[in-house]
Symmetry: C2
Subunit: 309 residues, 2 copies
């Protein structure tokens, strides 16, 4: 199956304790597709200015990503400047220039309106609504967001939940949106407003998937060094939705594995600047980490214990 | 097998968003033994003042905990007053009165000097050394600590590492002790100084066990409501060491399960004030959560993926 991904296509300038990168390709749609395309077909809808180095997206095209619906407008591309703190778990945004992204009006081409799988990257919920207005009954809609929209576009975001199947956000955002400290309660609050599945991302601590009557946890893949956390959440979403699309299934077993693929792809993304950690990956690199995560989380229960319901 | 547990026996006054408790029984040795005794035999060495409500420890005695080596000194018992913040992940210590604990000089009775399993609760590393000086070649020494000792008794604590098999601490403490942000690097730093196994506790995010060439993660057992986090780490240690002692084994499979028992016992501890969450527990209550954690973390890898080494 193919995924329609709508999100930002940006130029990131990032400083971490280990180096800095200047105006490198980034944005939610770019990180998502660099990740998901390792598992599935992806078509990207986004907007860039006429200053965007589209040639740097060539490797995505080579991997089969359909970039034909990226609109090119005259003006500057969305750019973002940030500096991470020494522990990499927090950062200061030094500059955000929306450029042509400020007037982004996502247009879904006719041939993508029948998409089975839709990923709504972290953009204004009003635009996320607009995307869904243009798509005919997709099989599954996955959606990401951030604190900025929870604060500024709360009503539109809460309305959107009714149209979403898998809602993803980090733990702080889940608490902020639901106004509940407890994550079980927070995810239930979200589920009651629509999504069948809530995935809460917890950075180095991994992720938790909350469904009707079951929960699944996966740790973050342990790394000797995290180089640049930018895009980890979008790469996670790409692994998760890429796997679901590849299997064309949301069975319990596949959803569990999908979260594991999310964790694995997120771990590759943070090992280099920009999408470089996802650039030369092979299927076997991914499989190896999936297998390792399995070994890091598996335990057998003692005989007799299984009798306890 | 039986565990020798040395630690504080205290009176805690705790305020959480859900209520408050006044001078209730607590301390690392009390929480540890209330937890470990559900799985194994435990003997406690500690000190209390003549104001201590020893009758409130009666239920531990009934469960087979040997309290005969708790020294009673004239003076006041160790007491601690704290108030948790609304998210329960941080707290202010309002008062710490060492009382007779300030002059604690642990004496290990002859009959406990042959103990196979030793738990050094979170006390001054100098005292932890003193305990080990009095014990003949135990099979396994497990040790807990906290930021206070990392800051104030660093040298003694680092020396102690060479005498410890399983070292436990939380993620912030691991970073503080090793001066490494990355937890893989932090645990390796600790392992290089002695302990074969490092267990890093991560609160609601669970725990990670680092051994020679393998890592194991277990999530925190998800709870609708955490009532009082006091003692969670000691109850975790009790589950972990209680299981190891019960099985008399530190095989890879048993160490993995031991961490799971730690997580489960920790989860019961935080559901009520003091040790009340551990008081009326049955084996089947514990087994049920072990089984549930298994279901929350198990995933099958796809056919073919297992071929990737």
């Amino acid at each position: 199956m193919s995924i329609l991904a709508v999100g930002s296509v940006a130029l990131d300038s990032v400083e971490t304790p280990f180096g800095h990168a200047e105006r490198v390709i980034g944005g939610s749609a770019v990180f998502f597709s660099a990740s998901a395309s390792l598992l599935s077909d992806v078509s990207v809808v986004g907007v860039v200015g006429d200053d965007y180095p589209l040639d740097q997206l060539a490797f995505l095209k080579k991997r089969g990503v359909d970039l034909s619906a990226i609109q090119i407008e005259s003006g500057e591309s969305f750019s973002w400047v940030a500096k991470y703190h020494s522990d990499l778990s927090s950062r200061d945004t030094l500059e955000t220039r929306l450029g042509v992204f400020g007037g982004f009006n996502p247009r879904i081409p006719k041939e993508l309106q029948q998409s089975e799988y839709v990923f709504l990257g972290n953009i204004d919920p009003t635009l996320q609504h607009q995307v869904l207005d243009q798509v005919d009954s997709p099989t599954l809609v996955a959606c990401d967001t951030m604190n900025y929209w929870i604060e500024g576009k709360r009503e539109s975001l809460v309305d959107l939940l009714a149209r979403v199947d898998i809602f993803m956000l980090n733990d702080e955002e889940a608490r902020q949106l639901s106004e509940k400290t407890n994550l079980l309660q927070a995810s239930r609050w979200i589920q009651e407003r629509g999504p069948r599945v809530v995935v809460i991302k917890k950075g180095e601590h991994g992720a938790a998937l909350f469904a009707d009557d079951w929960v699944f946890f996966v740790p973050g893949f342990p790394l000797e060094q995290v180089f640049d956390p930018t895009g980890a959440g979008d790469a996670f979403a790409g692994g998760l939705l890429g796997y679901i699309s590849k299997k064309n299934s949301t069975s319990v077993a596949d959803l569990r594995r999908a979260v594991v693929y999310g964790s694995v792809l997120g771990s590759f993304a943070v090992q280099k600047f920009s999408i470089d950690g996802l650039r030369d990956l092979t299927e076997s690199d991914i499989f190896r980490r999936v297998k390792q995560l399995n070994a890091m989380t598996t335990f057998e229960i003692d005989e007799g214990v299984e009798d306890f319901a």
